[in-house]
């Protein structure tokens, strides 16, 4: 068995003194683990940083074996954000969410493309709004997409302000009024009606976090990854104190 695929490094766990077991999000083979011999060495560690884009050649005698990877670095996304606390925390969070939420060896090409697109945008301005879109895209790729284009109660396409925490469908302002305290705010930037300012991003993170927990993590009784919690905590702190600037 052998294949060559585009991939993004999610995590690498030490295996013995010189090797690591790497988990990659591949374009055509989904979330896929493999042994990287020499991956714990100086050169291997640089390649195996979370978020790095690699060309992965996987080899095994039988398809059900762990197999070994030969990896070649294509783009070092991690190095670009090492000095930027929030972007780095978001990168760790995204990798941890994918690694924990996605099934092994099940191709989900839209999830790969969504993650790739967000990584490419990570050094840019709208990386935080992109992060929310990436998490909602991941939910959609795994079959739990939200319906944010029309009101679940009235069918209206205008004035959408909330989301039902049970159905994941948008609700317009009028229909939401009696249930406002039980609904999740729908940030305007997700439907092109408002800016992606820090307050709206915090609402967006709460929205995607609710559905990640409910749709993907509840089945295994697992909490959302600690890396995501740390990212949200840091983002909230910076959003609450804009004077410090958004790193």
């Amino acid at each position: 068995m052998e294949w060559l695929d585009d991939a993004i490094v999610l995590e690498a766990r030490a295996h013995g003194e010189t090797s690591v077991v790497a988990r990659l999000l591949t374009r055509e083979h989904g979330l896929h683990a493999g042994l990287v011999q020499g991956g714990a060495g100086t050169r291997g560690r640089g390649v195996l940083q979370p978020g790095n884009r690699v060309s992965a050649k996987w080899r095994a005698r039988l398809s059900e074996h762990l197999g070994t990877y030969n990896l070649e670095l294509v783009e070092s996304h991690a190095a670009k954000v090492l000095d930027e606390p929030l972007r780095l925390a978001a990168l760790q969070s995204a990798c941890a969410v994918i690694a924990a939420a996605m099934p092994e060896r099940e191709p989900h090409e839209p999830a790969f493309h969504g993650f790739s697109a967000w990584l490419a945008a990570l050094p840019g301005e709208a990386w935080d709004a992109g992060y929310v879109a990436f998490e909602l895209g991941l939910l959609a790729a795994l079959g739990f997409g939200l319906e944010l284009d029309r009101c679940a109660a009235t069918g209206a396409r205008e004035g959408l302000t909330h989301v039902s925490p049970r159905t994941g469908r948008a609700v317009s302002e009028g229909a939401a009024a009696p249930f406002r305290d039980r609904l999740l705010p729908l940030p305007g930037f997700l439907i092109g009606t408002g800016p992606g300012d820090p307050a709206a991003i915090v609402d967006g993170l709460a929205l995607s976090g609710h559905f990640l927990a409910r749709s993907l993590f509840a089945a295994t009784h697992a909490p959302l990854p600690a890396a995501r919690e740390r990212f949200i905590e840091s983002y909230r702190r910076h959003a609450a104190n804009p004077a410090t600037g958004m790193p």
Binding site: E11, R13, E17, R43, R45, G46, V47, Q49, P50, G51, N52, L73, E75, S76, A78, A79, K80, L82, D83, P85, L88, A89, L91, Q92, A96, P225, A226, A227, R230, S234, R237
Partner: protein, 197 residues
């Protein structure tokens, strides 16, 4: 191979870094051939170290005295603390002779994969030291990896209330490194850390 004691010796040696079963057998044979010169003194040294070496209650270094020799050294700059991940990193910096301040060993990096949370690291004691010891600068010497730098950013956040200057080691081209052979990540980091001449 025979003898439970010999098997046990080989198994234990094989658990040491850099030694596999084959090299552990060779090491055991060498020890047995040099009982007086090597095996007995090694056994005694291991026992003595196990009994006397302890974590420094101030910085987390390993030493036979508490506080450790570095913390006790009055000649060192007590206003600067270099934060490292492990004692091995402290030893590496000491070998270089480039730093004459104090240290603080975190005991690892934040890692969701290994279940290491902020409470598992010696961050609270670092914040206390920053408040108490008249410290002026803290140098974060964590690895240039995602986990290492995420830990550095977390520590920086925690130190924000102390008012102490926080810096980190430079990242970039190693001594003797040629640009043509460097990976993209190192080159990116080097460009970001460039200095005006």
């Amino acid at each position: 191979m025979s003898g439970a004691d010999l098997e046990k010796l080989i198994q234990l040696l094989a658990k040491l870094p850099g030694l596999g079963p084959r090299s552990a057998r060779r090491a055991a044979l060498t020890l047995l051939k040099k009982r007086e010169q090597l095996m007995t003194p090694l056994g005694e040294a291991i026992q003595a170290a196990a009994a006397s070496v302890q974590d420094c209650s101030v910085c987390g270094n390993l030493d036979t005295v508490d506080p450790c020799a570095v913390c006790n050294d009055k000649a060192r700059d007590s206003h600067t603390i270099c934060v490292v991940e492990d004692v091995g990193d402290l030893w590496a910096l000491e070998r270089s002779g480039a730093f004459r301040g104090r240290y603080h060993v975190l005991g690892g990096t934040l890692s969701a994969l290994d279940g290491i949370s902020p409470d598992d690291l010696r961050i609270a004691s670092l914040v206390r030291r920053a408040h108490d010891d008249g410290v002026r600068e803290i140098i974060l010497a964590t690895s240039a990896t995602v986990e290492g730098q995420a830990t550095a950013h977390y520590v920086t956040d925690r130190l924000a209330s102390t008012g102490v200057a926080v810096s980190r080691l430079g990242h970039g081209v190693p001594i003797g490194g040629e640009l043509d052979y460097l990976d993209d990540g190192t080159l990116t980091a080097a460009l970001k850390s460039r200095k005006t001449l």
